[in-house]
Amino acid sequence: MAINEKELTSRKNIGWDGKTLKQMREEIDQLSRTTGHYAGLKKLPLKETEPIRYEKIFSKLRGGVVHARETAKKVAASPIVEQEGELCFTLYTPEGDSIVTSTGIIIHVGTMGAAIKFMIKNDYEVNPGIEDGDIFCNNDCQIGNVHPCDVHTIVPIFYEGELIGWVGGVTHVIDVGATAPGSMTVGPVTRYDDGYQVACRKIGKNDTLLKDWLIESQRSVRTTKYWLLDERTRVAGCHMIRDLVLDIVKEEGVDTYKKFIREVIEEGRRGFVNQVKTLLIPGKYRQVSFVDVPYKNLDVPPYARVNTIMHAPTELTVHKDGKFQIDFEGVNRWGWHSYNATPVSITSGIWVMMSQTLIPNDRVNDGAYYASQFDLPYGSWLNPDDIRTAHSYAWHFLVSAWSPLWRALSRNYFARGYLEEVNAGNANTSNWLQGGGYNQYNENHAVNSFESAAEGVGASAVRDGISHAAAIWNPEGDMGDMEIWELAEPLIYLGRSIKPNTAGYGKYRGGSGYETLRMVYGAKDWTMFFMGNGYMSSDCGLMGGYPAAAGYRFEAHGTNLKERIEKRLPIPTGGDRDPDNPEYDRLIEAKEIIRDKQAITTETIFENYDLYLNYLRGGPGFGDPLERKPKMIEDDLNEGHLLPRFAESVYGAVVTQDEKGKYIVDEEATAKRREQIRKERLKRGVPTKKWMEKERKKIINKEAAVQVRHMYASTFALSEKFYNEFKSFWNLPKDWKLTEDELGVPVFGRKINKMR
């Protein structure tokens, strides 16, 4: 024991100039805070005196990190990684600030940084020790991960005994051994249902993974082969990047490298500030979004059986000096569902979004983070005050909460005349087809379709959003080939079609969503579930545009498909074009056909020849639909983006068909019809004050669905500020209150309650 202690105390610190990492972390924070410049860098000596050398180092690092990702991803077996590109590598300073990142799921620039900071804070230098050749793993949500299926591999980089940085690699794995199969399973309501969580653990030494880790980790998940190859992908990429860094240090000298990594972050901060000044207009921008949590009838513990709604109001402040601030005051309480988020995941995710619009370049690093401020109420769904929270599909809330930020930015762009940059918002990136059991190879397996990486895009102020194209978490979206998905899933495609009426209507409509009809085939002990918005749209149109359509579910069990196929009778194929007049249901007999708005479900047994509809959402629209050009409506009709009755009711189009069934929009008649609609609108309209008076009465009488009341009650319980603002906006009596307790729903786990 004595020897060990002596060893520990005589151990040389691994930080720079004999410091500990903890000291370094504190120093950086202190310097950045007091000066307003990252690491106190008011000047960039290297960049200013040797700009070319600086750029050369940058391009070598950046190119190398991107290249490592491209090479390493070929090792993976999972289509999620290989085909959809759900992986990312980032290089960090010794303190865990990001320097440069590859393409891919760059939300993890922040989450892996959080893991490194966690290790520093918890004195990993002393125990378990941080040494050259070590490999660490993290996927713990409460340490800062988005959800457990994003598994991090983190490797320290040493040069002559000193830690000069870290490299992190992340992949979205297909299963983490949660309560049900699939990477983002539905059903977990606590951390303990979320699956295998590894909290910054040392899993390898001397560049070799430890045997106990390999054994334990593979016994903890359903899809061992994918797990294994994903891990090899991450380790291979991290090692390539470590070699790259050491190569640069050899070429440029370690002192130059140390200067460079500081300056590049400060440069990122300055660049972001300038970008804000160029593209935005100082002021406050407020917006809100909601999404449904229909848990009342789900097979979950009693305290979780609550129908409620996520509340995500935001106030974006663009300061005159270019500072960028987002205040989430008013978001409601975390809950017993899988959609809670951590502060790092919401802020990092915002950079994913910003890199698609405000800063689409290769200089994304922690500099932007130092140039912005986020206010994230404690105890809310994005900053829970309880370690028990579940996070397996945090994205349900995240993608919904980000959509209004597109509108905030778009109002800026519109005002500055950057009409092409306007984007009405992102689709709710669902449905998630997930499940598992014994697959077509008779192996224990989980599936997680990433067809959801290609959803409709929001409209701009000059053109329609593009259809089936991207996801908020991945602008380089792709739906992949059906033949590749059929390698991974025992689900035969019976259709892949553009889905009419899924795009938000508008002068420019959103991009359309699509749907794929799957027939279970070759599976055994198979379960699946749905995950997406059902009752509510999480986006909202912009400047008169409509939101995209919400979701629903279609599943059919115990069908007579086999017999119909034998008799060569028509069977359901293609899209469920008009769910109000369903075609599928006419073509089959089944023990059970489910069509409803319960778009979130837990495990359901599926037998072979059962059907599952995977519907991927559209994007929101821009501008008044009455301003849409008749020719564009005609094209929408003929190309299957729009059902005729909505061309009439929403767009005011007067539609006829020619002898071949082609739709024709009569321009003159349409113009007349639109005039009439405008008059009807005026007739229907009431002055805002009058409308508010009516609404006010409803509020006073608490005339709203229990979900709506629950949403507001849990917001009020967290924020007096929001409660007071709400009261004054609606001019409510002083003693008006709305509490969670009066609603008769469980308040299990509640801590903060300002409505007491």
Binding site: G64, V66, V75, L229
Partner: protein, 732 residues
């Protein structure tokens, strides 16, 4: 036109003795038919070549071609009638098909797919919304867009059918649905019909059944159009790739066949005794009668790679890193152990395809690339867009206002403003100087010269990184490769982008400008066919399983050999003339990326052969992905069989000239010029490339000029011209 004429004059001057000999023996004709100009390259028995140009004639390409050949032969004082009968071979490469595709001016094609999948082709793959984009535009969502589909939805029909990934019939073909589908398409006046069903590569019968029914229906209706079943062309996995490629076959390739036949006939009418061959994406040439003509869609850049491969074969160099800088891009490719790397799921014209394409990495950084300072991040950016033929600010007629890489060359004195592209284009250094000062130097706080030098330094360092990572990505190191540098802009930067990488040797052919055409003329007559397989063998499997797997692989090889042999038969080559080479694709079970490997065996005979295949795979795998990624415990999958068949065809000769001494002749010396290099103005020796003699050695700082290229030998470097007129660049 300007530079060709000049180039020819130079070639002529440097070749006085040959001229006196008067008699030429034209042997190889290479044609590059672009959208506006048709170039012909005619190579004689000594390896000398001449270039001709003429306006392209899209309505009948043979007219433009003939004019172009006349133009070329005029430099040799001879005629088409005189030389065509002497030609041993002719190779065509053109952009007509690509233009037809990109401008969506192909045939009206009808498409038959699985019922329910009628939308999949027009939906494309979302990746097609940003293919070919720069990094920042890939992120920048609002820039993404789809091109119109090749086949519109209204010309698509579905028939009920499904086969699973193993090739099991899940839903039999509803044959009664085929006839109405075909009739409807014919009624809509389609000019061709393409059939593509899911997993047809595993179970071809349904596609073929539809094909046969369609033909019967056509007979009945009395309206016959060609029918293309995807499995008859590209029996490989990934339906978007396979369907796109088969559609291109019907939409653009098949219509081009007529053009090629016309050209072939024209050549014959003028005395040619050979069958025209067409450059194909896999790096070989194929007959105009080949089944799969869509693979001739490719043109241009791969010519240089094939030229490098041929030159390597002649000089005994097995590993080559090819590099080519043009006006808009830097193209790289690797030849390893004498073989080109092939990408089997490439993209062209923003479409994912299933053609085997010579794998090339392209970076948007060339001589015409724009140079800018990002106003907000204050970082120096190069490209990805380019002034192309508009050169830069230094060329007023080009109307360019943004600094380009060429402007920096001019500031530094690296290129002669009065002799750019043979002197036909006059450049104004003063304009370049002012622009670099205002746009680059002042914002960076550097002198104009240092800024211009910095741009070139950054460009070369980026190119060096790309080149290095491409080689490392294949699991090799530059010391195992010889770097070839060609193209108009290549030799200017060769020293810069090879510096410190430790290549075994660095070669710059003096005839670099015509290298791509030389490559076309040097291409093998080669067919390559691929087939998707799914053969799984677990680690430590029993012998009978390995045997069964081997037999299945051998059966695929046999099938593909038949296909290749049948193609050669169309050109009257019998099976014994064909050199067959067998390849397989392998991966660990479950992976999605395989590796293409030449079979270490001639045929699969016994269990030992299985182990040979596995060893060959694992050798390559560990080289490419590091040892840690080796995963034998997962078992192995053979995912594809490939057969290449090659027959001997005449190829251009490499020039051989007698060695002169190390000292260059006085008449090659053009004088001295000021060049700014590493912070100071120095006097560079200027040499005329054509007048240098084999054996000559030239030390830095020297600039060796020819009308079409400029070769820079900086301080610390030395170059030697060998007897094949190839410069070897050495760091000393």
């Amino acid at each position: 036109m300007w530079h060709t004429q000049n180039l020819n004059e130079k070639v002529q001057e440097g070749d006085e003795e040959m001229k006196k000999a008067a008699k030429r023996n034209a042997q190889i004709l290479a044609i590059d038919a672009g959208g506006t100009m048709t170039d012909t390259f005619i190579i004689d028995e000594n390896g000398d070549f001449v270039v001709g140009k003429a306006q392209s004639t899209p309505e009948d390409e043979s007219v433009g071609l003939l004019n172009s050949a006349r133009d070329a032969l005029a430099y040799w004082d001879t005629t088409v009638e005189e030389e065509f009968p002497k030609l041993l071979a002719g190779v065509y490469s053109g952009t007509a098909m690509l233009n037809r595709l990109v401008s969506r001016k192909g045939r009206r094609v009808g498409l038959i797919v699985n019922k329910g999948m009628e939308d999949f082709h027009r939906m494309g793959r979302a990746i097609q919304a940003y293919l070919g984009y720069s990094y920042s535009d890939r992120l920048h969502l609002n820039t993404h867009r789809y091109d119109p589909p090749l086949v519109p939805r209204e010309l698509t029909r579905g028939v009920t059918e499904r086969v699973d990934l193993f090739g099991n019939v899940v839903i039999p073909l509803y044959e009664h649905e085929v006839e109405p589908a075909v009739r409807e398409l014919l009624e809509q006046d389609v000019e061709a019909i393409v059939i593509s069903l899911l997993h047809s590569y595993k179970y071809p019968h349904h596609e073929r059944k539809i094909r046969d029914i369609a033909k019967e229906v056509m007979k009945k209706v009395g309206k016959e159009v060609p029918v293309f079943a995807s499995v008859d062309y590209y029996p490989v996995r990934k339906e978007s790739h396979r369907t796109n490629t088969t559609i291109i076959e019907a939409y653009a390739a098949d219509p081009s066949r007529e053009t090629l036949i016309k050209i072939n006939n024209m050549l014959k009418e003028h005395g040619a005794n050979f069958d025209l061959r067409v450059m194909a994406s896999h790096g070989g040439t194929i007959s105009t009668r080949a089944n799969e003509l869509a693979r001739t869609l490719v043109s241009g850049p791969i010519g240089g790679v094939i030229g490098a491969k041929y030159l390597g074969e002649q000089l005994g160099i097995r590993n080559i890193a090819c590099s080519d800088i043009g006006g808009t891009s830097f193209d790289m490719a690797l030849i390893t152990q004498g073989d080109l790397s092939i990408n089997t799921s490439p993209d062209m014209a923003r479409l994912v395809l299933s053609l085997p394409l010579v794998a090339m990495d392209t970076v948007g950084a060339g001589a015409g690339s724009y140079v800018r300072i990002d106003p907000n991040f204050k970082s120096l950016t190069l490209g990805p867009d380019s002034a192309g033929s508009r050169v830069g600010v230094c060329y007023p007629e080009g109307g360019v206002e943004t600094v380009t890489v060429t402007d920096c060359h001019v500031v530094l004195g690296l290129i002669n403003p009065d002799n750019f592209l043979g002197g036909e284009v006059k450049l104004y250094p003063g304009r370049a100087y002012e622009a670099v000062k205002k746009q680059i130097a002042d914002p960076l706080g550097l002198s104009v010269e240092d800024a211009a030098y910095g741009v070139i330094d950054l460009l070369e360092s980026q190119l060096r990184n790309y080149l290095e990572s491409m080689i490392l990505g294949k699991g090799y190191s530059p010391s195992q490769y010889v770097c070839f540098s060609y193209g108009g802009g290549g030799p200017l930067h060769t020293a810069g982008y090879t510096k410190g990488l430790g290549f075994e040797d660095v070669l710059v052919p003096a005839w670099a400008a015509g290298f791509s055409a030389f490559g076309c003329g040097a291409a093998d007559f080669e067919y390559r066919y691929d087939k998707t397989l799914d053969i799984n063998v677990n680690d430590g499997a029993a012998d009978d399983i390995k045997l069964k797997a081997g037999k299945e692989l051998q059966a695929a090889w046999d099938e593909l050999k038949e296909k290749v042999a049948a193609e050669f038969e169309k050109s009257q080559f019998s099976r014994k003339d064909v050199d067959f080479r067998l390849y397989f694709r392998m991966q660990y079970q479950g992976q999605l990326n395989d590796l293409e490997i030449e079979a270490p065996i001639e045929a699969f005979k016994d269990v030992n052969d299985w182990d040979e295949l596995v060893n060959a795979f694992e050798d390559t795998y560990t080289r490419v992905y590091a040892k840690a990624a080796k995963s034998p415990e997962l078992g192995y999958s053979i995912t594809g069989a490939i057969v290449r068949g090659i027959v001997e065809v005449p190829k251009p000769k490499i020039p051989v000239e007698p060695l002169a001494g190390e000292t260059p002749p006085q008449e090659a010396f053009l004088g001295k010029r000021n060049v700014y290099w590493k912070g100071e103005w120095i006097k560079a020796d200027i040499w005329e490339m054509e007048k240098l003699k084999p054996g000559n050695k030239i030390a830095g700082f020297s600039i060796i000029e020819s009308p079409a290229t400029t070769f820079v030998v900086p301080i610390g470097f030395e170059t030697y011209l060998d007897q094949h007129r190839i410069f070897h660049l050495k760091e000393i």
